[in-house]
Symmetry: C2
Subunit: 340 residues, 2 copies
């Protein structure tokens, strides 16, 4: 039996459930719109380390450990860790995996990694390859600026189309259970490139990928956007999320008040982040706090989480390439039966 409908959408017939979760953010994010929802806000963005990369790794490690604790499952009953991040060779994830000490699958999907890790984790649980898995990602403003743009010490001006990489982490523990938030289906994205080459305008580069995956999800499942209480993208930002709404309208789908974007929502207007938040940790931290909180309270029953990633490197841009992007969607529900 094929557990898939249409070309891109997987159906998880055993409905892997969210057994535990954790979110951690830095001080700026703690003063943003979701400050009170995150499990932990740290005031020292070096987290006691002497480099931002070591801090990022320690934060991710902490987040995975606390998510496991939150699930009530013993660490040695976590059958696999699916994780990735933005650092070259995903060192934050791999060094975290070294400490966590469970079988590890490293992923790279840039800022789409929270969805990618949940999808691979859900395949793993649904296919019976493991009982409980951890799905994690995160990002750090200062390590990302240093690697992708300029070291902070240069004081480089930011263009108005830019977004602010979130210092934030998220981890979701998936497993089999009779209740709780279920992963119903997922739509795996194609790489989409509409020839945007401005690395200070990630929203524009990623919006077509979000459109492609959202359209595929709706076409595959026969759903309308209004079938979801919330459709939320990871980090398109203010400009990118407006482009997505336009593109979907052009494709005959109206995204109404039930659509929002984590990047657009993360910071307050006075926090000077221009187009809003970005980074793996943007969607990851909000999904694992505010969104799952609202689902568990019954305020949201059906949520489509779409994380988007820009897949360039500094070198690919230096060599004149445009920015390929990808988006993966995860359909989550609570209460009721599987609705696909």
């Amino acid at each position: 039996m094929l557990n898939r409908i249409g070309k891109q959408t997987l159906i998880f017939r055993n409905r892997p459930r969210v057994l535990g979760r954790f979110s951690l953010v830095g001080p700026k994010e703690g003063r943003g719109n979701f400050g009170k929802f995150f499990h932990k806000v740290i005031e020292d963005d070096l987290f006691g380390e002497n480099t931002y990369e070591k801090a990022e790794c320690k934060m991710l490690n902490y987040t995975i450990t606390e998510a496991i604790n939150n699930s009530g499952i013993k660490k040695d009953e976590i059958d696999a860790l699916f994780a990735g991040d933005l650092m070259n060779q995903i060192i934050s994830s791999s060094f975290s995996a070294r400490t966590i000490g469970v079988p590890y699958i490293g992923l790279f999907g840039a800022c789409s990694t929270m969805a990618e890790s949940i999808i691979m984790g859900a395949c793993y649980v649904d296919g019976g390859f493991g009982r409980n898995v951890a799905c994690a990602t995160g990002s750090h403003f200062s390590s990302a600026e240093k690697q992708f743009r300029y070291p902070l010490e240069l004081g480089t001006q930011r263009p108005p189309s830019s977004q602010w990489t979130v210092t934030g982490m998220g981890c979701t523990i998936l497993g089999r259970a009779q209740s709780g938030i279920a992963v119903e289906s997922a739509t795996i994205g194609n790489v989409i490139d509409w020839n945007v080459s401005d690395v200070n305008n990630m929203g524009a580069a990623m919006a077509p990928a979000a459109m492609s995956t959202l359209k595929a999800h709706l076409d595959d499942t026969g759903k309308q956007p209004s079938d979801y209480d919330l459709i939320v993208t990871g980090d398109l930002g203010k400009l990118g999320s407006e482009i997505l709404m336009d593109l979907m309208e052009y494709n005959g789908y109206h995204l109404g008040n039930n659509y929002s974007d984590c990047g657009q929502m993360m910071f307050t207007n006075t926090q000077k982040t221009f187009m809003g938040g970005s980074g793996c940790g943007c969607g990851a931290s909000i999904l694992n706090s505010y969104i799952f909180d609202r689902m568990e309270k019954g305020e949201l029953k059906n949520v489509l989480f779409i994380a988007t990633g820009a897949l360039m490197s500094t070198l690919s841009s230096q060599q004149g390439n445009s920015i390929p992007a990808i988006a993966h969607a995860v359909a989550l529900s609570i209460g009721g039966k599987q609705n696909v």
Copy 2:
């Protein structure tokens, strides 16, 4: 039903099969021990491009395309591409995925990626999430030297413990079929770090990870090394494969004449590669040519392919970290019934 035995070993009850495959290597590898087995040997290691990174991407793209052609499956019936490489942000894989145009899961496992991609692809097919998937990886000597060590133009001397990153690519198409090479089981590795910090001695850094995964595989399945016609590691090289044999002996397992290492075998003694080949493309190109050839001829019936990866980045090493490593094992068979 849990499709797993022991802590780390997955059982693929639907036995995903190798439906197609392709290997491509550069000129030096073409003059090595396996030159006549590779599907394509290119004489221009820029492959008509103007940078080594673009060449690497074009080679991987070509390899995936030819593996799909080799399988006889139409491209639009390939349900997912699982790929990764060594480049920062795995640009070779992501830019290839842009051209191939199928749903894409980006992976990072350094030189363990051929096994990692086959395992994730096998989970996907076995779990019924897709019919046919492509699993691919590759590496390029010159792009890897530039990124991880020194640009070739510097003419830096290589230490005797070093290995030579293979310019090579491999892609395996998996799907459901009644005959052919089957993926029987797989053992997912933990990240192992024995505090080796010499980036010119990858074999020593990775051998403990290979030991950990091989021991887990044997313990989980109750097998002995002699149950396999061939146990082959991806790129431990001459030193690393000797360390692995010692470590296994210490653990009560004797690796005899049925053990070999792709890195150790890739080049001839006169090719001045010191400890032999390395890189994602080392095991990937030999698995998809020589090893699968011998299996299809019936010369090898049961093969355990263990790809090993060193998970550091230049930055993690510069910041004083040791080298975490991982190994993933894939048990392949042809003829007969599932033997686990």
